[in-house]
Symmetry: C2
Subunit: 389 residues, 2 copies
């Protein structure tokens, strides 16, 4: 009988958080929840806590935390407020695994704490690795923490690299579905609305990620993550379009072999694997039926039409604080688009502008990286008039 | 600097043998040839021996062996004749790896000797595992021998299983190109000639294997091999048609994940991997370019139209001497077809007949299995008038 693993779940009320709880509920003799954290959804986290009975609940917003404390305190569950609360969940001594599914760069500090505490980190949140990959990888090596990816592409790469030698790897190819607008021409791209951007063809995700998927910045951010997760040189990373979202990524080896991971597009699979690794646990969903699918299609990425992948490459090559600047500018631009202040097609230009004017620093500390993030946001907000019509 | 591995190559003048020498010649600081063996091609093996300077050469046919001895003796290379000579190469103390690329059931005895001697066996020859898989696997466990596959499908499975746990495997899917006649209807199948059968769309192979590929018996034999190579229950094995011969096989896991191996259809890749494992060595041929290919296609296998896979399954389930009977009947039927004695479409019926009338024995020894093989051949030759027009 395998031991029960204790899980601290940061971002429990979001899409990945909810699916993580689905997985945990499917294997009550393998996983249990010891902590839950969210930003502000008091009702949702109260209901989750009553079901999964963690020892600790953290809610960032003070008022929501107070509501949760009133509801859960009498049931013997501690409730803490503010970012300190989230960080406390991230470093909880009783947690074997920390699942980080917090939205945006806000995830960096708790992730940093989990890594410092030597936890197994099941990382869904892109921004911590994008902004501070070099620091997190070095700290994980020191503390004995391991970082397991919780998204389909990086989980695919992780699984394709099992049993392989680092020196045998030639190139890693991330697959991209192409997002909601893959078939629109440039003129039509200028006119798309946030509502259209949020209708992704295969994956159900939050609004920020769905827009990133439509601009392909999502894939650019994933290139940066892959660089750190798998210790790859920037030239070893590339993207191929694959509409069906069945092949989740591929690894090419120096002998001409390619290993690929295929699965139904269902986030619960990479979540479950990050929790169960090195074991696999059974799932009800069958693997994709290739004979029924008939064909898997691949296309080259048109770097002219989708410039965000190229911008991410530039940020990787510049290093230091450049990926933090890329990420901050993208968060601002996506926010502006969702609030209908700029057209969809203006997003890459704003990111490019920020990268061009950003004064790249070494990025020696989390503080320096977060300062670069803030500096780019302030710079863009100040000059917003130039972009916003 | 890695140590140089010493290789004894059985079947050096055939297609796999020649390609093995190509690989060895590409890495002179990694591999060297200590023995070469063939059936009768004296001139070819003399020329190979002069180039690769083995300590031992074996030629089965006595006259050809004599010619080789005259040519190579003065150069200090020992030449031995007969099956004993081949067996001597298979168990050569100085060989780290024995490559078995002998055609037909004739490969069983030398393969058995290599396994008994605890060698790493790079196995191209299908028949030893088909006929005596249960004995070879048990003997390898005893002697410390390891059996590495040298064909694209099993090498793909082997590579897809690296770093995975046996209990996580749900199913193995062998891909089949469908052979030369995949698009013919049943009437047309009855009229195909040996010349047509030998024009395989993607792989360049010997005549027996090419006909087996056209009947899909090749895939049936591969199912039997996979059963023993990877310790799989018969129900865990299946076949999917894939015309492009880029995905060389797939492994499905209990969590719904699939790991696939892709590569250009080039036998030198699985040969090289069986020699270099666990390392990978660089090759000049690039991996397949998926964006350029555009699509990979998959179709279900029509078991009615291609009955040989189902016959192989029956033989697996019957066990004991049944796979030996299947293999012997198929060798006889393919030979008859190549000599234009029977139509192509008669091959499965002959195999089915042999399986039906064969009295399945336990198959406790190599001798018993070879006796079953002979018995089926004799039975068919005696009743040949019923089949041959």
């Amino acid at each position: 009988m395998a031991a029960v693993k204790s899980i601290s779940l940061l971002g429990s009320t979001g899409s990945i958080g909810q699916q993580t709880l689905d997985v945990v509920a499917s294997f009550p003799d393998r996983f249990r929840i010891v902590a839950l954290a969210c930003r502000s959804s008091a009702e949702e986290i109260i209901s989750q806590a009553r079901r999964f009975l963690p020892q600790l609940v953290a809610v960032e917003e003070r008022e929501a935390a107070e509501r949760a404390r009133e509801a859960l305190g009498p049931e013997g569950i501690d409730v803490v407020a503010g970012w300190q609360g989230i960080t406390q969940c991230a470093a909880l001594p009783d947690a074997d695994i920390v699942v980080a599914a917090v939205a945006g760069v806000a995830g960096l500090l708790p992730v940093w704490e989990a890594v410092r505490a030597g936890k197994r980190l099941a990382l869904s949140n892109k921004e911590p690795l994008v902004v501070a990959g070099h620091l997190l990888v070095a700290e994980a090596a020191r503390s004995g923490s391991s970082i397991l990816p919780v998204d389909s592409e990086h989980s695919a790469i992780f699984q394709s690299l099992l049993g392989q030698r680092q020196e045998s790897v030639a190139r890693v190819l991330l697959t991209a579905s192409g997002g909601a607008f893959r078939d629109l021409d440039e003129a039509a791209l200028g006119r798309v609305t946030p509502q259209q951007a949020l209708a992704h063809p295969t994956w159900k995700m939050g609004p920020k990620v769905t827009v990133d998927s439509a601009t392909l910045m999502n894939k650019g951010l994933e290139l940066i993550e892959a660089r750190w997760l798998f210790d790859l040189r920037p030239g070893m990373l590339d993207v191929v379009l694959h509409r069906e979202s069945i092949v989740h990524s591929l690894v090419e080896f120096i002998d001409g072999s390619v290993i690929a991971h295929l699965a139904q597009p269902d986030m619960r699979l990479p979540i479950q694997f990050a929790l169960s690794y090195p074991e696999r646990l059974p799932r009800r969903e069958p693997p994709p039926d290739l004979a029924e699918l008939g064909a898997l299609h691949f296309e080259p990425l048109d770097g002219q039409r989708w410039p965000c992948v190229g911008l991410a490459r530039k940020a990787i090559e510049a290093g230091g604080t450049a990926p933090a600047a890329l990420n901050a500018a993208n968060e601002v631009a996506v926010e502006w688009f969702l609030r209908e202040k700029i057209p969809f097609s203006a997003i890459p230009g704003i990111v490019e502008h920020a990268l061009t004017v950003h004064d790249v620093g070494v990025g020696e500390s989390v503080e320096e990286l977060l300062a670069a993030d803030r500096q780019v946001r302030e710079m863009l907000e100040k000059g917003a008039a130039a972009w916003i019509s």
